[in-house]
Symmetry: C2
Subunit: 347 residues, 2 copies
DNA sequence: CTGTTAGCGCATTCAG
DNA sequence: CTGAATGCGCTAACAG
């Protein structure tokens, strides 16, 4: 009756036509060893015939599992985050999980809203990356209090007790890159990066500073730009404006993302400089399009996809093996290696 | 008791502490007019205090609504699809829906699997774009049979009865672009595009042909490439290889995506040609990074974000107003306008 | 091996 | 305005 109304076949319908109990049908569907093979076959056959689709919602309510991972990213339109999502998705689906992505639209308020949404029982665990605005952590601590498995990645400025952490060593990676620039006999090196509110950028800048220290070099404050804009166009103007006003141009630039490197190169080109002949540029990230750019970008390569896989692995571990356990490591932290990729924007 | 086990506060817990019935608490939570304001206040206050979070799963099972839209895209790593998702998400969240994105990884089998997953009651409607492999439509017809609101977008090679359709006019857009190239007095024009299995590409190619016809021009078969590769690198080699083997180079290229345009320009540059001085290039799509490329890309601008919004609008219409209804239009089809964006790869 | 029963947490009749 | 009872579709404990 009901089945005819909403056109959905239920276990009950199968049970009735087969003159079995719902329990048996349910067990047959989940291939329980406590059901005769013959019965299983019959159930499966009729289920197929009737076009049965298990109701995932009912299943979840009953079992307490949704097989969905919540993923919170600061924004959609940054290929890095999409790559991480791809990695999470890749690992998750191998293990019969799906992912539900929520963008925080670069806003702390949206981030909190996203966390709240995931407290409503729709996901079995949460993977998230903080926005640049995020400066307090009650929302994620609450997640932990509620025993929600949680793994943080990328922009981690604060270690959360009980959560997993997946990141790269931004500091060392930046040192490595800037050292290359120093070794290339560049007299002065500039830095162009994103908002200083974002810890990954700060760490990359710290690496920039450290590399100079290490080699007893100095850099000029006026060669450092922390962009405040958020949209591609505004960012471009900010970078272009900064560069066009420089009295003396550095011999090289270290940029905290590939995108800034591209904006930098674009601006330099407009200003009549040749990259890398006049000025070398190194980016950070190694997105797909970085190698498509002309000239092809030299950069620190960040394992975005692998980061996603690792995040998913830790998360599923927490989900399966209980809350505070992490087989991945004991610190609840994984630091992924980066590597330099030399292409055409360095000599 | 239970509440203490899984640490979740339920309506029952609130009801007990307030000496009210579950029903009243439930009504208070949904701001029913059938509850005294005073009671509502008390309920809301105590709910807040106890840290109540409604169980969305239970809610869904009971109400038959999940407030989730399923979105199936061919792949994650194509910015166009992410833009569409952003648009869907933007509209959806304004209306209290969330989206669950599933990638088909360019495979028809995965696509079918994704559809199947959405038949399990986790979503209220489905928005989808076919992969290039998709050549039969039983899976979506089944979705329709099961009364699942469905909206197709972008790569539509087959109109599905009962589904909504959102697309652009690939044919006319291509004609427009190629006409520009013809008007620029280019003697011969080449075409570089993606797999001929994808209808959008075919339509763009048809437009290429039509523009020639319209102006009594002809083009050479050897100036046409339908790429078969799928990964950026392979694609690059395929394009480069194609171009390097041409005996005579056309004066311009029309490319079926921005990405092919970039690969084309990159290859031409490597081969010693100047764009646009020697050869003009027009792309299709207008992704964010198209304007960051050097030289900035001239292209057909496709309203990706808006397409997403429209998709969500149609889908929510179908969900709210019943299955076969669509307030948007009567044909269950929306064709979004494109426009030419002139930048630096044309003269 | 199979059936009976009792929830999962909430919404929603139907009573009052 | 509030409460008691039923059911959403499935799982799982218990019984046989």
């Amino acid at each position: 009756m009901k089945a005819e109304i909403n056109n959905r076949v239920r276990l009950e319908d199968i049970a009735r036509t087969l003159k079995l109990s719902i329990a048996t049908v349910s067990r047959a569907m989940s291939d329980s060893s406590r059901v005769k093979q013959e019965t299983k076959n019959k159930v499966l056959a009729i289920a197929e015939e009737m076009g049965y689709r298990p109701n995932q919602i009912a299943k979840s309510l009953s079992s307490g599992k949704t097989n969905i991972l919540g993923v919170i990213i600061p924004r959609y339109d940054e290929p890095f985050f999409i790559e991480v999502c791809r990695g999470i998705d890749y690992y998750a689906r191998k293990h019969n999980y799906r992912i539900l992505i929520s963008s925080s639209r670069n806003s702390f308020n949206y981030e909190k809203e996203n966390v709240l949404a995931f407290e409503r029982g729709t996901v079995d665990g949460v993977a998230m990356c903080f926005t640049h605005e995020t400066n307090s952590f009650e929302h994620v601590e609450e997640l932990i209090d509620r025993k929600m498995p949680l793994v943080l990645f990328d922009n981690i400025n604060h270690k959360i007790d009980g959560a997993g952490h997946v990141k790269i060593d931004d500091f060392s990676s930046a040192i490595k890159a800037v050292e290359d620039l120093i070794k290339h006999k560049n007299e002065s090196i500039g830095y162009i990066g994103g908002t200083s509110k974002k810890s990954v950028f700060n760490k990359r800048f710290d690496g920039f500073v450290e590399a100079h220290k290490k080699h007893q070099k100095s850099f000029k404050k006026q060669h450092v730009l922390n962009c405040k804009s958020y949209h591609q166009e505004h960012e471009f103007y900010e970078v272009f404006n900064f560069l066009s006003k420089l009295r003396e141009m550095p011999n090289a630039f270290f940029c905290s993302t590939d995108n800034y490197a591209i904006l930098c190169i674009k601006s330099l080109t407009k200003l009549g400089y040749k990259v890398p002949k006049d000025i070398e540029v190194i980016g950070f990230g190694n997105l797909h399009y970085s190698s498509m750019f002309i000239p092809e970008l030299t950069c620190v390569s960040q394992p975005s996809f692998k980061m996603g896989e690792k995040v998913a692995e830790m998360l599923l571990n927490k989900i399966d093996n209980g809350f505070f356990v992490s087989d991945v490591d004991q610190d609840n932290e994984v630091v992924l290696p980066t590597k330099m990729v030399y292409r055409d924007t360095t000599r």
